[in-house]
Symmetry: C2
Subunit: 202 residues, 2 copies
């Protein structure tokens, strides 16, 4: 857990430092979603957050620092993978959450991906966040194995999770096709079928 | 087929107009791969192509016009989907081609994706190119069905192709993981297993 790249020593949960960070990061998310990565400026963020520009400069230095911290904050959020009682249900619920984050207008998730193409620091922060999220989701595969839903022997949980989720990102972010309400479930179905056939067995 | 957004009426195959276009588009690809989308300028392209700046301005107008034409040119190239004799072989070969285009340094394909996050015209051109390529690949699924490799009834060829290829883009472009030489074949295996289990049946 981090409280920002240049956290001051007087921070305490709920204190002024935490409050300022929350205000500034809310402003970054809003600016990013509305204006995209190119429109993000320290000045714009400070104005929207209602804090002085020098406060933002001192703590986050520049736009790159703001991007890294907003991505780190997403990783700190108390996210839990779904737990519906079946692998198919869990992957469908996960995919519905992903689809929702990608199709909402404006999409903060898509804006972050765009930013990571243009900022090496943002890209590294985002890579860490994705790695954490996929690691958190491995429990879905462990639970499915414990319930006897998967073939005997070990399953490559990461490969299974990528197979289930990748079509959503590919269609919605890269191919820019319209959202299909059936896609979360269909993509889950395909990944479960491949897993049951042993395609992800180690 | 188009010869550029503002082709002049005197163009002929192999003529001066076609030659200038080839030189300019080669320069766009090289600049894009080396400097990325932000580093692309009409001046830089003209200098590298050895043509006058006004020639580029007159025919392509601006960086957006250059991007659209380089994407359109990729669509005009005589690309054929693999034909190895099995669906698994075809999808593996297709994935190997995709992986190669994404990991080569510098990657023109990744530079184009980055550009499409920042230029609506480039994004539309790229969406058309992807749609064409996936449509061209549907023959792989038709051939597999004719060989009896798929369950009876119709298969959603597009969904199968997305399932097979999406993990490569997701891992290499968005998650930025290192290339895995086994990934093209493994992703093909998972998609074929799901298809045989009827996950893409219509």
């Amino acid at each position: 857990m981090t409280d920002g790249p240049a956290a001051t020593p007087d921070r305490r949960p709920g204190g002024r430092t935490a409050r300022v960070r929350a205000q500034v990061l809310d402003a970054v998310r809003a600016e990013l979603a509305e204006r995209g990565h190119e429109g993000l400026t320290v000045e714009g963020v400070a104005t929207r957050a209602g804090v002085h520009r020098t406060t933002v400069h001192r703590r986050w230095h520049d736009v790159g620092g703001l991007l890294v911290d907003v991505i780190d904050a997403a990783g700190e959020a108390d996210w839990r993978p779904p737990d519906t009682g079946s692998l198919h249900g869990d992957l469908t619920a996960l995919n519905e959450e992903i689809q929702q984050s990608l199709v909402v207008q404006p999409s903060f998730a898509v804006a972050l991906m765009a930013a990571s193409f243009h900022s090496e620091r943002a890209a590294r922060a985002q890579t860490r966040l994705w790695a954490d999220r996929y690691a958190q989701c491995e429990i879905l595969v462990e639970r499915a194995a414990a319930r006897g839903e998967l073939p005997c022997g070990r399953t490559d949980a990461h490969a299974l999770l990528i197979a289930a989720t990748a079509p959503l990102y590919h269609r919605l972010v890269l191919l820019r096709t319209a959202a299909d309400p059936h896609l979360p479930e269909r993509s889950a179905t395909a990944a479960v079928a491949a897993a049951k056939a042993g395609a992800f067995s180690l």
